[in-house]
Chain length 561, copies 2
């Protein structure tokens, strides 16, 4: 147990650890710690939707458990400023008013993000420092510096009378980082004192060996830059402040001025500059509007779009849609990132468009210009060796990666029965006798965000959208004739087949609908059943005729209601 | 020029080479050769749609040029049996009746595929053999054996009075293949005689070194199989007959019976067995229905689904949806393939589901159980060194890959100005004086297939589907009241937001529509403009209220027409 705080005497209560997300996916990281009526949470992340989640911009964990227990929620601690650890904060704060704790840069980034949400007024944002403990009811929480692809990343040691838990957050063990060093000693000290549970990053558990140091990317830049005669256009994650620093350093060393462009890149550099996490002297910068006046070999642009995002600066340059920066023969683009699974095609498309314009592209396929922010097998084993936890709970990552970490845990000497594979929502209870087990389950799930709000959509809506997306919709309206003696039908297709080809089918569909309507009317009373039955009949006809099955919506004649 | 055929004396005409697909994408391979009023085509491939092509199963090249010139089209030559080289054949044959030429296995696979199309009656399928020339008008066409991930793959040497062209098709240079060897000598001989143009595979031009031999996968199987105690479930492309053979050989050597399951896997093995390209003795096979009675360590299942395709056997096993094969603790799954870009998430999802069931998964992330069928840089350079073409035309691959091949061509000694980067539709003319240039352009594009037919959709339909997919549709019908004195509106949403949340907005939408309708009616005459204006007004309201923009379809009162 951590020093410096005395816990109340007497038999301790049970500590419940409840992951609300992050265990069946990359993203949605969010873990609840509950002890004697108090809750603290570590991380509050979002996830980017997969292709089947049509019309969804972000996914967040179902926060129902926290909303229902809002009076118990005392603090949200954030390990670092990436969106898969911070992105759900605005949506939580729209529902409950909990203070957010994090290190300096993390809080700076969160503060800027929350400014976009007009309905969140004066959120409580509290900056914590590594080695400084925060006491909240029976919890004592200490941030421990780690290295990762964003500065100011920390693990948290959570002390309670029931035991001590360490949550690594995302980390690599970079022994030659840019700036802040990892506090290996502190992990070791906690290991000496005894750690009951380690919740460890599993992302790169399937990668053997060590993840290369961030500094090697700087070495690559220093090797590449002098060879380039024309403009240099670099692209990386806007949050990777160290990478941006290294790019800028290489540019300046080669007598190039640095042009930072793209909204999120500018925002992040501005925040990081204010907080002194990055240093690109004003004299060495050039505004995007003066680029045209500068010689090609005197500038280096750094911007967003390393994932091929359609609206990013790099995509717009590649597709000739950028207002001021036009790609040209002689330019060199450096994509300093790895395509996240699902983005491979977008990145490839950007690269192809650039090649077509005579641009030389340096990226993962042909150069070493990126390193991962997650530790590989040897680093994960090192963390476990330092902390020597009683129990290991692999978190952060798909099941196969977490299973990979479990295997590494066994290699390191953790007893197999002390490695616990849990699902989102499982209540894992650490008892005063140091036994640990799954004792229950809370409701979990995913909520969808569209723009800046909850999308108010459920799985049925997603199903309807998928059906519309496949084959469109046909709307058939049945209307009484002017003399009210009979009916006629008018149909319209949206997203079904090309208009000039729909003509043939349209007449058949309308005649068929009228026939069916009159037939059903003579059989039974009017009602929704009639619309459904016409719809099914027409759908069958269309499927036979065209081979595809659009949604068929039938609108019956209706009197005022 | 190839020996054995005498061309007519006198000044030769021009040879036009027109790629109809395959130059801006992976797939759609199709190149037209036109000489003095005769056309032959090499390859007739399809492409799998990307995520934006909603409701599309396959994409084929726009075949308009061939349909318009159908009387000139004398032959379609196919390099090998993969769908990106054969898949458009049925849709071409639905429009024109051209003979299809290919090697034995290639024709076998095409024949089977065409049986699924009832409207294609007695297609002309002609089997050709390597080293045997086919003369068609002024063309002399010779297949040359290459190694690739499907047996019976060939390049074609196309001789005309204007000059000789070699089309490599897909190839690697595997010096220890399973079965057929590549005929390096023949390429060398053509090189001696003089080749004017080489159209070369570019797929792996960005991979340095050599692609490993297929035989190494067999070595890996032989190493892995004896260590496995439970069932083995293997998965690869159904067309990779050599891989299936190696899997079966390893199984049999370890006293396991081979269970082949999955429709396309069974079809291909049946065809390949009939044609003697694979040999799995009946005594060593077991039918899927007897699996339950066999000991786990006495069977090895080989099936489809290596790309995570949702309906494949492996996906169904992973998701507990397979009728007879239930995954269980102790099973080992071997995924013997690489995820094609765009399929990474599906494959990962299958792996995760299997891990959760306690299945051990051996795949590209943790073992060497797959090799590419495409040659890497050194093999591509070797091909150019053998053939020593006057002109190089990089084909098969995205632009960056083709640009990569162009660079390799320069290394090999081909003059930069003799390397020609063309787009789909470019008419490349080889003149009698051996000059070559782009002399025109034919219409090209893509057509969409849904099920087994042309989908009859164009880019507008795809746009509408994308809009529907994002936010659904709201249908508003405006109807006269029973006494015809006024109107009322009824709205319905499909794929917009959850029903219980739509209720609030529904009333507003309907009132607003009626108000707008009455106002517009008093301003102007009725017509489509009114519907459009109501639609725009309501769309604005919905966007403001919900943050999203569904398609809004307004149906006005209408009298019989």
């Amino acid at each position: 147990m951590s020093k410096g705080w005395k816990f109340r005497k007497g038999k301790s209560g049970d500590l419940n650890i409840i992951p609300l997300g992050g265990l069946s996916e990359i993203g949605l990281n969010c873990t609840v710690f509950e002890y004697k009526g108090s809750i603290i949470v570590i991380d509050m992340g979002l996830m980017f939707p997969d292709d089947s989640m049509l019309g969804v911009d972000y996914v967040i964990p179902d926060l129902d458990y926290l909303v229902k227990n809002s009076s118990k929620v005392k603090a949200i601690f954030i390990t670092h400023g990436h969106e898969d650890h911070t992105g759900a904060i605005p949506y939580l704060l729209q529902k409950i008013n909990a203070p957010i704790y994090g290190t300096c840069l993390t809080i700076g980034l969160i503060k800027r993000k929350l400014q976009e949400f007009k309905d969140i007024i004066s959120p409580k944002l509290i900056t914590v420092k590594p080695m400084e403990k925060t006491k909240i009811d029976d919890f004592v929480v200490e941030p421990i510096r780690v290295t990762h692809s964003i500065l100011d990343s920390v693990s948290y040691a959570v002390g309670t009378p029931a035991g001590t838990v360490i949550v690594t957050g995302d980390f690599k063990i970079d022994n030659s980082p840019i700036g802040q060093r990892m506090n290996l000693q502190r992990f070791s000290m906690y290991g000496d004192e005894g750690v009951d549970v380690l919740l460890s990053d599993s992302t790169n558990a399937l990668h053997s060996g060590y993840t290369p140091s961030e500094k090697l990317v700087g070495v690559a830049f220093k090797d590449i830059f002098p060879k380039i005669k024309g403009r240099i256009i670099g692209s990386t994650f806007a949050s990777n402040i160290n990478r941006i620093q290294q790019f800028a350093d290489a540019a300046i060393a080669n007598d190039r001025k640095v042009c930072i462009t793209g909204r999120s890149m500018l925002n992040n550099v501005e925040i990081a500059s204010e907080l002194k996490y990055i240093n690109i002297p004003k004299a060495n910068r050039i505004d995007v509007k003066y680029l045209d006046q500068a010689k090609d070999n005197s500038v280096a642009i750094i911007t967003t779009g390393s994932q091929g995002e359609p609206l990013s600066v790099l995509s717009r340059i590649a597709n000739d849609e950028h207002k001021t920066i036009k790609a040209k023969n002689g330019d060199t683009v450096i994509i300093s990132s790895k395509a996240i699974p699902g983005n491979e095609r977008s990145v490839a498309s950007v690269v192809n468009m650039l090649y077509k314009k005579g641009v030389h592209v340096i990226y993962e396929a042909n150069a070493f210009v990126h390193v991962s922010g997650h530790g590989s097998a040897e680093e994960l084993k090192m963390m476990m060796s330092l902390v020597r936890p009683r129990y290991l709970m692999p978190v952060h990552g798909e099941y196969r990666m977490r299973a990979g970490l479990a295997e590494l845990g066994i290699h390191v000497g953790i007893a197999k029965e002390n490695i616990i594979m849990v699902d989102n929502g499982d209540i894992v209870t650490l008892k005063h006798d140091k036994s640990m087990s799954i004792t229950g389950k809370v409701k979990t799930g995913r909520e969808f965000i569209s723009g800046r709000r909850l999308a108010n959509i459920d799985i049925n809506v997603i199903k309807q959208r998928n059906k519309l997306a496949q084959n469109g919709i046909i709307i058939i309206r049945i209307t009484p004739t002017a003399n009210l003696g009979s009916v006629f039908a008018v149909s319209k297709a949206v997203g079904f087949i090309s208009d000039n080809l729909f003509v043939d089918m349209k007449k058949d569909i309308e005649e068929r609908s009228v026939d069916k309507y009159l037939k059903l009317l003579s059989e039974k009373g009017a009602g929704n059943a009639i619309a459904t039955r016409i719809s099914k009949d027409v759908a069958r006809y269309i499927a036979k005729k065209s081979g595809v099955s659009p949604h068929v919506e039938v609108i019956l004649p209706q009197i005022e209601i």
